[in-house]
Symmetry: C2
Subunit: 580 residues, 2 copies
């Protein structure tokens, strides 16, 4: 199955979430034609260089032997081509060698990278996080010697957070950082689940590591962020001896076999502090937020790939009398087509949410107007957990629907549909589980400014609902969006009024409700943007908005009831009563 870069959909999605306005204000050298050219070139690269390696990455995977990790077959060469093509440096600051494009465009490119080969995409994705952390909090030396190498992609980056006892709860991090008496530190400890923690695809690997000093306060306020490179770097930037750190093993995982997930052993590794002592968690969140949005994009990407494969299969496979296909292709069966359109509608909604968050991050960083920056920053913070969790849940759902469309062949590994179902499953877990995202949403994000951030969003969505209700062919979308926004407002009021276990037990349905409604809004905006156009692609966008409104938005009022249930029953039931 070949991958076809969804360039037209991506360019259109960018436009409808404010990318043009962003460019006009902050990127005078960037125009729509350039955006399209970048997307097309990136699309061609992912189609020809990355997609063909995806299956081999799955079947052969990365290998661990004698303390070293070898990337999956072809991955190292593809990575070199990726770096040589300048794809790693797209959105980075030109000061460090980046191309200075918008972060949103970088995200769109990364969607294609992940769709073509998610296991591969993780390597530059992690590097991206390291770039953002060092650009914001790095020392002069780190910015001079390390950052440009990360921006170019000659070196790669990792995030070393998790330890066996410290997963969602980073307060439990135990890796020690001992001052070496020369201004540096020595790290001792074990990290797990370190994505691309070791490999042979680049000259050096820059590990950003959470650890605590011997005299640090307990809990999250005693954790600092360190940089430890696989090979030491002298003051001229030359590579020296190997550092005292190594991969201890790689995990045997359900999916993304092409991405080595390492146990990393720090055995007195030389390290430098990044940012302030004991403020590592805050610095880490810079990486983490970027990574969360990227993981959301992975959800979209794997869904897109699964959708493409299912669509191609449905056009080829003939079974029975299909109402809408004279040749009997199962694409002509109403139930199959319903499934495909729902997959596509979910993908477009999730894509728009992720790219919108990307644009908001750009505006928050670059808008001239300070108030506009603040507004964008708040909404980006609100959207980030939704982009991560809602999109990755959709990745799993759509990959599962893709398997289903294949019938029996979907369960056979050679078909490839099953790989997407396996690969997709990690995205709701890593970079903060979707449960953690939901808790972040109800605990920190929805309550921002006393709910005013959600209120402002709701007001905009009401406006769109009005516009839809007045547009022939989109009236039902408008009515259902209106009802959905009202349901979200009720649920938000309840969440703000109910702290603690009540709100926490409603967190997951609240996040789903928010994603469902915001996704419906995005599809409504897309349909409005194409009113009057009569080509089949434009008509399909209106159809997708209607399908989504009937199949998903219509359930928003019911979902809100689930949010507002309260914790009583959950609190009361013992594990014993459930058979535990």
């Amino acid at each position: 199955m070949t991958f076809r870069a969804p360039v037209r959909d991506l360019a259109f999605a960018l436009k409808t979430v404010g990318h043009s306005a962003l460019m006009a204000q902050a990127f005078p050298d960037l125009d729509e034609d350039t955006v399209l050219a970048v997307l097309e070139a990136a699309g061609a690269f992912t189609e020809s260089e990355l997609a063909p390696l995806n299956r081999k990455g799955d079947t052969e995977g990365a290998k661990y032997a004698n303390g070293k990790v070898t990337a999956a077959p072809g991955f190292a060469a593809a990575y070199q081509a990726f770096v040589a093509g300048g794809w790693n440096a797209l959105s980075s600051d030109p000061e460090y060698g980046g191309q200075g494009l918008t972060g949103a465009l970088g995200l769109a490119v990364f969607e294609m990278v992940h769709a073509s080969n998610m296991a591969f995409g993780l390597c530059p994705m992690l590097t991206q996080g390291a770039i953002e952390a060092l650009a914001l909090h790095g020392t002069e030396r780190q910015k001079r010697l390390v950052l440009p190498k990360l921006v170019s992609g000659e070196w790669t980056g990792t995030m070393n957070l998790t330890e066996p006892q410290a997963g969602s709860d980073l307060a439990a991090v135990a890796t020690r950082a001992e001052p070496d008496g020369k201004g540096g530190y020595r790290l001792h400890g074990q990290k797990i689940y370190i994505t691309w923690g070791d490999h042979d695809a680049a000259d050096n690997i820059c590990h950003l590591v959470l650890a605590r000093l011997p005299d640090a306060p307990p809990g999250v306020k005693g954790i600092s962020l360190f940089l430890a490179t696989k090979r030491l770097v002298d003051d001229a930037g030359n590579l020296g001896d190997p550092n005292d750190l190594r991969a201890g093993s790689i995990e045997h995982k359900l999916g993304i076999h092409g991405s080595p997930t390492c146990v990393m052993l720090f055995e007195g590794a030389q390290a430098e502090l990044v940012g302030e002592l004991n403020n590592g968690i805050a610095h880490m969140f810079v990486m983490m937020n970027a990574a969360r949005l990227q993981v959301g994009v992975q959800g979209v990407a794997i869904a897109e790939r699964a959708f493409q494969q299912a669509l191609a299969f449905a056009q080829e496979r003939k079974q029975g009398r299909a109402a809408w296909a004279p040749d009997g292709a199962i694409y002509g069966h109403p139930d199959v087509r319903r499934s495909l359109l729902l997959m596509k509608a979910k993908i477009e909604a999730a894509r728009a949410i992720c790219l919108s968050t990307g644009v908001l991050n750009d505006v928050a960083r670059l808008a001239v107007d300070e108030a506009a920056r603040a507004v964008a920053k708040a909404r980006a913070e609100l959207f980030t957990p939704i982009a991560k969790a809602w999109s990755t849940d959709i990745g799993v759902e759509v990959a599962s629907m893709g398997v289903q469309i294949h019938g029996g062949m979907g369960f056979i590994e050679e078909t490839g549909a099953a790989q997407h179902y396996r690969d997709a499953r990690i995205a709701p877990i890593y970079e903060g589980t979707n449960g953690i995202q939901a808790i972040d949403l109800v605990g920190r994000k929805a309550p921002m400014e006393n709910g005013a951030v959600v209120d402002a969003l709701a007001a905009e969505m009401h406006e769109t609902a009005n516009a839809l209700s007045g547009t022939p062919g989109l009236e039902t979308v408008g009515a259902r969006l209106e009802a959905g926004v009202a349901a979200l407002e009720r649920a938000t009021d309840w969440i703000l009024a109910n702290k603690g276990p009540n709100a926490l037990s409603g967190a997951t349905p609240y996040l789903k409700l928010a994603g469902d409604v915001v996704g419906g809004w995005m599809l409504g905006l897309q349909a409005l943007a194409l009113v009057g156009a009569t080509d089949d692609w434009s008509a399909s966008k209106a159809a997708l908005a209607r399908v989504y409104s009937a199949q998903i938005l219509a359930q928003a009022p019911g979902l809100a009831e689930g949010v507002m249930e309260g914790a009583g029953d959950y609190e009361a039931v013992s594990a014993h009563a459930l058979g535990g």
Copy 2:
């Protein structure tokens, strides 16, 4: 992770779906104590003999070499123990050596078999289908020589339906049956996806094969059902030479690796007709309906296993400050507990639907009153596609939620949660995809007797809703069930009024709606049955009914809108517009 047979839940579920009344009427020798004793003994067997093999079945799987299949390590010995324990013969007719228990009790036992080891359970499950087909349509010779061996389990059975071009569309079956001039036939052709098509766990394998005579009419009306045994059987029942059939290969699958999925090659195999010439599809549906219900039970089973593992993990794993657990066990986190209770509520609802269908099948077969038999038969027919599709979708959902509760460890194969996620994925596909079930529901089942079968069900559900609404603590369950039943009635009216593509494009949401509402009804009945009981297990059943009503039933009215959307948008969108 050990498996704990959910004996108490199963016994209770049986009671609330009319098993006691069934026993009183048609099984005078069977009482509640015996039921419990059977469940306990079966539970002990599955816990000690089958569950420990489940992981090895996954990691090592069945093997193919030199035209022969070897069962996964330990499976053949476990199968011998299964047969020796009499577990294969539970519900079969004593005339053929069965124990004559209710089919519903047999299903409950099979739930534990599948939960402990789904790949293993497929072997006796397929035998069960062959038993039912031969008991109804077999010749005297088949009933004398073959049926008792299948009932005891000494020989196993298979269903040979699918061919590369004939999956959901059996009209395309091309395997040839040529008369041998001696009253028998010779089969020529290739079948695929044949579960336990070859193995070394039993002395003989009885293949029930769809094929067509050279002069048969085209389409489904030219297909006949044949019996071809792996080894020939003489008139005294002795095993003779190998037949001219063999496994050509086994598939490399996403899950159920312990179940060999064979390509079967019929190379002039000797075969006997089963039932009438050219009526094979109808005879096959006897097997198929039994298998569909069993597959629904597999959905429940894998969900139960995944739930147990997640619950055990949540009690052990400590992360952060848990609102409801002083020791920090993640079972004390509201979001985790919500997830676990929702898993459990779905399991209990699906279990009740499957066991209810089992009881209805028994009543349809055995009730003294002819009218009662007819009523039960119609409802069993209505329930069968729901039991199959809704329960297996829940199997996938719950297995996925189980992975999620494990966090990063869920993605590591050694943990075992991922196996359930992989194993569960086949159940929505085989024995008629869930799309086919939905089409069966809207096309044949809901329209039975002009909708009167659904009407009668709705009337009963309204009664239960009334009872719930008048019961302290269950009022909200009653109100939501009432609204859910009304939504199902609206959707049913629409389905009956809209044939063709409109109804077909609403089929999948209609089935989900029906399952959601009937499942809510079942949980409501369970809660009503325990009113007044104060132990924590009884209290948990009321809590599960409330949780389910808030999280699932509340969405029924919105889901009904999705059913009644119509086919317009689906019909209009070309594959090209979607990027195909």
